[in-house]
Point group: C2
Chain length 326, copies 2
């Protein structure tokens, strides 16, 4: 069965790391049909719209989308794309690779981030010259859908259970609902959970990341805490992610368009290549996904490195090395 | 002039570290009159209320309050107390002390946290069996008041300027208002500012904390990012804080009541003693504040240590050592 894959390089280093990941995918010679689509700052400049309807429709109708990065328009591109795939969870692994200089080399976490609500609701109002409000939205249904996914993730991955990060001591009604919904689904399924306040998590993950494996969180908590974990494993250049919906997925590195190094051909493609591996696994190609992961790990350990990891290799050198090890 | 000081030990290790700080203050023999007041889990158990009206009124009418910690009732105690002093900013320094095992020993930051609004508005609604909402509130007036304070803080402290952390790419109206208000006050006063997204801050502060000095943030961002910084300097046991209002202040360690070690007499009193130093500085006793800071620093460098810092000294040993060095 042929899979339709939308590829959206976007802006900045997205134009470099996304083709790198596609080269790796093409090398595997699977039954994929790639459709390139456009989005980002440069599209806004040309057409007045950061995310063309056509790109949205492609993402909303194909099996999987591989996205690079967008610049200033990131929110205008990535948030609607997450909606396009009806993504209810953003899976964000943060693993320190052997040989990569990491603040906490023992870090090995997966964040399961709620991907549709919280302060990302889009409901904001300017009530007066002095006052603006935002409606933070939490539903049991979204929290339960996330929890079902988390339980399966934990069972499939052989984890003992998961942590639920929240701030229900302050956001009693909304994060209280989030926590209660998640915990009750887990209880029904016999999956163990432990609660942690999101602020306390920020301290404790620095002091000892091995206390945590899988961390289920509301939208903004997942955003910030996974970026924190990126700081522990050596930077955003290392974090892949998968936005999973009921029928399709959107796969993207956690990093942005890095305008400071864009165009120099030295961006680290690891996060995007591993995002492509997550895409393969999502599409049922587990073995190929694992092959990519192993190859990236081997290259990170002793292969050529891009400047963010202290080397002087190019994106292409690293991609060649990954392909060689496949 | 005699200053009236309210002392609220609270729960758990609050009962140990607060008296320790009071001993240090008493040793300095300043014109202080201490009033002990009660709050916390044990008060809830006894009286049905975590924060007695009397304690609230004391905090709302005296020059300064020194607070220890509260347990499960922390939010019911500390949030109203911040309101009692009309505290519009929570000053949270995060400094790694020489000799203390810190993940990033070069960390030297001060968070200026908005202390009245954001998701701490208290406006939450249960709209249906499935849906709850919280109204996140941002006003220009609160943001400007914070910015005025930040500008003075930067000028007095000899800093180059400050960072403004926010998530205005998603919370465009509310954090947009926050950012614009803060930046425009700073521009008027000729203070330099640099923006940083709160998620990006979480990565970058791990990779290189020396990029930042003073960080101005909305309420929840300040909560989480300062706790993250605690993880970089060796734990919550090290972070003091000052809640500043127009006429009075509330001074408290950032850590909680630590039920796991409460009653053993081994809690690290450093954060509370330095919070007391911040109180002295607030009350105009700069020299004495500095003497306390120097004494704590000296003890942390080569004096007795509590178990959280790898030693086996008691709270009392450490407090004795601080007093000896005064
Ligand atoms: C660009 C932004 C809207 C986005 C988010 O906040 O989700 C980004 O930070 C991320 O984490 O993917
Ligand atoms: C106890 C809680 C309400 C409080 C907060 O969120 O402000 C605490 O985390 C803090 O940072 O002082």
């Amino acid at each position: 069965m042929t899979h339709e894959i939308v590829v959206i390089p976007g802006d900045g280093i997205g134009q470099e790391v996304t083709p790198a990941a596609v080269r790796v995918l093409e090398f595997l010679d699977l039954a994929f049909e790639f459709h390139e689509a456009d989005a980002g700052d440069h599209v806004l400049a040309e057409t007045g719209e950061a995310l063309p309807e056509e790109t949205y429709e492609l993402a909303a109708s194909t099996d999987a989308t591989l996205f690079g990065a967008a610049g200033e328009t990131a929110a205008d591109v990535i948030l609607p794309l997450r909606t396009a795939v009806d993504s209810f969870v953003n899976v964000r692994p943060a693993t320190a690779y052997p040989g990569v200089d990491a603040l906490r080399p023992e870090t090995d976490l997966v964040f399961l981030r709620e991907n549709t609500e919280g302060v990302y609701s889009g409901h904001e109002d300017r009530l007066s010259d002095d006052l603006s409000t935002l409606t933070r939205v939490v539903t049991s249904s979204a929290s339960e859908r996330l929890a079902e996914f988390a339980c399966e993730f934990v069972e499939d991955g052989g984890y003992d259970g998961f942590h639920v990060a929240h701030k229900a001591n302050v956001m009693r009604e909304t994060d209280g609902r989030f926590r209660d919904s998640v915990v009750s689904v887990a209880e029904e399924r016999g999956v163990e959970t432990e609660e942690v306040l999101m602020d306390a998590f920020a301290t404790h993950v620095c002091l000892d990341p091995t206390q945590f494996d899988v961390v289920v969180c509301p939208n903004l908590a997942g955003d910030v805490l996974s970026d924190l974990a990126a700081g522990l494993v050596g930077g955003l250049g290392m974090l892949p992610s998968a936005n999973i919906g009921p029928d399709r997925g959107l796969f993207e590195p956690v990093h942005g368009s890095a305008p400071d190094i864009a165009g120099e051909g030295v961006a680290n493609p690891a996060a995007t290549i591993v995002s492509a591996a997550m895409m393969l696994e999502y599409l049922g190609h587990d073995d190929e996904g694992q092959r990519i992961r192993d190859a990236v790990e081997a290259v990170l350990e002793d292969g050529p490195r891009t400047p963010d990891l202290g080397g002087d290799a190019s994106t292409e050198d690293v991609t060649d090395a990954v392909i060689e090890r496949l």
